[in-house]
Symmetry: C2
Subunit: 467 residues, 2 copies
């Protein structure tokens, strides 16, 4: 599957490496945390920075697209060839919350290179993987002598991915005319490992909710009243405990209805990957595997739906003790979805299930805070095969297939634009997405640049636009 | 059961009412929160203040007794009569944590009178109920013309009750020679209501623990790893959910072994009280009753053991969402115990139960943070009957019997000193112990003063010391 690399591309990248890293570092300094309202200005600043940088790169059009929440950045660079396919690259410029005291070894928004790694919130998820396309397209032009890319290149870089993309669907629908594309390239996933380049063929969906439970009007004395009134923290715990049955299957009625089960061929492809559970556990910083009975770890994280509690809180959490029945408690839950599961239907099932478990005397508020549909690409799609070839040239290695356990709003693009969704990512599991000390491997980042540089020519040469 | 009040006592109390309230207010301003290390100086200041005030009251001896934690205050005032019984009054000068933002209508440590109520943390639990003895003994002397109380009066006012009295047993054992008494009067309980004076005949015990659960070494991405490794917040929730069975009985193996069941007479005495569940629920600020099947609400809060979660926490609790598997979670549990349950045995049962529920890959730390033994007084004890008569004179009403659902270290005094434990309290359920807007009813506070003024003479007159 590997192809011959292009020395002109490699030379160009080498010459522009330092400036590229300086620019990326500048962008990573902007704490564009979409989940925290006090960072709203930073998210806007991040969008402005990117739009300006894309114009500098050569995109004739680079615009800020406002939403009811955080703004997206849209850019386009027409090929000039009427038969060239149109490709829309998707990514996001917002990042997860991060604070030094969460366990970071350096400030999350002061990027630093240690060894051959760049550490910063967003280094891999997703600024690094958006930004490699800027040098990639310049290298493509330099190596081919073109003045415009071989494909009609569009970029849509949203600002709310880490908050569940609440306005993304609307944004895509509003601008559907300008976003039309023959294929969507999602640049927000990872590959198997430093040594095993892979392309991803599917992504899980996501439904998130927060459940607040209210008991007594105020904290009350557990000696005077304990044992005789319902405790909202107990109810919160019972909800979380009821998420799974004894086989670690999600116990919400209807949860598995209609899901697309793995084929034997897909299970075999998963099983062929050089998976070492011990080293996977080290990457997961965990000490045991635990999950749905009857499935391997890879099946559990890529192709099975899950329920996890992301946060739980209620009552006294400070030092010492406080013998109270708390007035309220809350849980934050997230559900990863696979093909065949619609977030709306899952949300209804979760609501009905939760309400059925709340006893008399406890008031509940259930809010669904974001959702993303799952998606899957056929293994034999011609554009997917272009990605595999471009990546093979960059890595000089065969490229294998994976899926992604995380979630992105790619399915909205698929639905609204009617275009297949492909995934191109160079992040590795140890990059620490959503965790302290997030980083990107610099060698892989530049393989991403190189893949981007090869991809547009391969796509234009092998796949003509639909008429 | 009511007796004739004494006009000399009432006149004396009326004359000294304002000064008494000024003094109590001064004491309540000291935020003697024993659970919070940054208030350690305040707890010491509270002890110093009280010792000085007891000397001013007339106690020839008033000392600070240090412990490995917060200091206690000890005072004694001999009767001079070789046949007089010795009574040890127990109370505490430390208070629960309190902050304005918890829902207080005024600063918790800036006492304020609204209506006929004094609002402050500690107003009822327990500074007000300790302090009424100071004016009580002065009124007793003024009305009887004595220069020393009719009984040998001792006070032991500890500083760690709200932290589970971790050093109280040691303190009592160290000073057992000086603490010898014929009866212990616990001045840290309540009565039925403003209209129904009662004496309490027993108090539940308490065992408290904090369980910390550690999963991944850091928060990890719920998309990349969710569904395949154990989540410590799920384990925390499953522990809390497993505390009770479907009949709201505590499901920890061995928990109910050996408990003293209620007699038919006690159940009948409980049932005779003017209990109105709707108004009790209002006092509990709650919207439904919920508890062990087969028992009334009064039985549940006074005579049945319970398990409650006082706090639970893990993962992301801020605004918005963060799709992680948290690195750790914790629960704070408390168990109310009844006669027949030893805290040490219960702690062992809780530890074994909790450890059995922690799956592979999760590390647990279980710390027992404090315990108190339960105790019960025989209904026909002569000293208990003195308390009933003194209270009847003050209130000019018959006095009934209750128990107390809360816990105090009274059983340690019973065990070490070999003395029966009696309970005298004028607090009412609406006083908001451990809650925002804690207060004491001023009318009842002065009935407490009056009861104290009658009690020493009644005890000395009807019950001679054991030889």
């Amino acid at each position: 599957m590997s192809q011959t690399p292009d020395s002109a591309v490699r030379t160009y990248i080498q010459q522009h490496r330092a400036a590229f890293l300086d620019d990326l570092t500048e962008w990573l300094r902007i704490p564009s945390v979409s989940a925290q309202p006090d960072h709203a200005d930073d998210v806007r600043r991040s969008a402005d920075w990117l739009a300006a940088k894309l114009r500098e790169t050569g995109f004739p059009t680079a615009e800020i697209w406002p939403t009811a929440g955080a703004p997206a950045v849209y850019a386009e660079w027409p090929s000039g060839d009427p038969d060239a396919p149109t490709v829309l690259v998707y990514g996001h410029h917002d990042v997860q919350p991060a604070a030094r005291e969460d366990g970071w070894n350096s400030e999350p928004f002061e990027p630093v290179v240690r060894g051959n790694r760049l550490y910063a919130r967003g280094a891999a998820d997703d600024k690094g993987q958006v930004f490699f396309h800027t040098l990639g397209v310049r290298a493509h032009l330099a190596a081919t002598g073109r003045t415009a890319p071989a494909v009609n290149l569009k970029l849509l870089i949203e600002g709310e991915e880490e908050s569940g993309s609440p306005h993304f669907r609307t944004l895509v629908e509003e601008h559907a005319d300008r976003l039309t594309a023959d294929a969507v390239i999602v640049s927000d996933t990872g590959m198997w490992s430093e040594d095993t380049p892979t392309v991803c063929t599917g992504m899980r969906g996501l439904a998130e909710c927060e459940i607040r439970l209210y008991g007594p009007d105020q904290d009350i004395h557990s000696g005077s009243f304990g044992g005789a009134v319902p405790n909202p923290a107990t109810v919160a715990a019972r909800l979380v405990a009821a998420l799974h049955d004894d086989h670690a299957r999600v116990a919400i009625p209807g949860f598995y209805d209609g899901i697309v089960e793995l084929t034997d061929r897909e299970r075999a492809l998963f099983a062929e990957l050089p998976f070492d559970e011990e080293s996977w556990l080290r990457t997961a910083k965990s000490y045991a595997t635990h999950g749905e009975a009857g499935h391997t770890t890879l099946e559990r994280i890529w192709a099975r739906p899950t329920a996890e509690v992301n946060g739980i809180g209620g009552g006294y959490q400070g030092p010492g003790s406080k013998t109270i029945i708390p007035s309220s408690a809350m849980v934050k839950l997230s559900f990863r979805l696979v093909a065949g599961q619609e977030p709306d239907r899952i949300s209804k099932a979760v609501r009905a299930w939760a309400e059925s478990l709340v006893p008399a005397g406890i008031r509940s508020e259930i809010a669904f805070t974001g959702s993303t549909r799952p998606c899957l690409t056929p293994l034999d799609h011609p554009a997917l095969q272009s990605v595999v070839r471009a990546m093979g040239r960059a890595f000089e290695q065969p490229v294998r297939y994976t899926r992604e356990g995380g979630s992105g709003p790619a399915a909205d693009l698929q639905d609204v634009l009617g275009a297949p969704v492909l995934f191109l990512g160079i992040s590795v599991p140890s990059d620490g997405w959503h965790a302290p000390d997030e980083k990107v491997e610099l060698d892989l980042l530049f393989k991403g640049v190189e893949t981007s540089a090869y991809l547009w020519g391969d796509l234009a040469g092998t796949w003509r636009r639909a008429r």
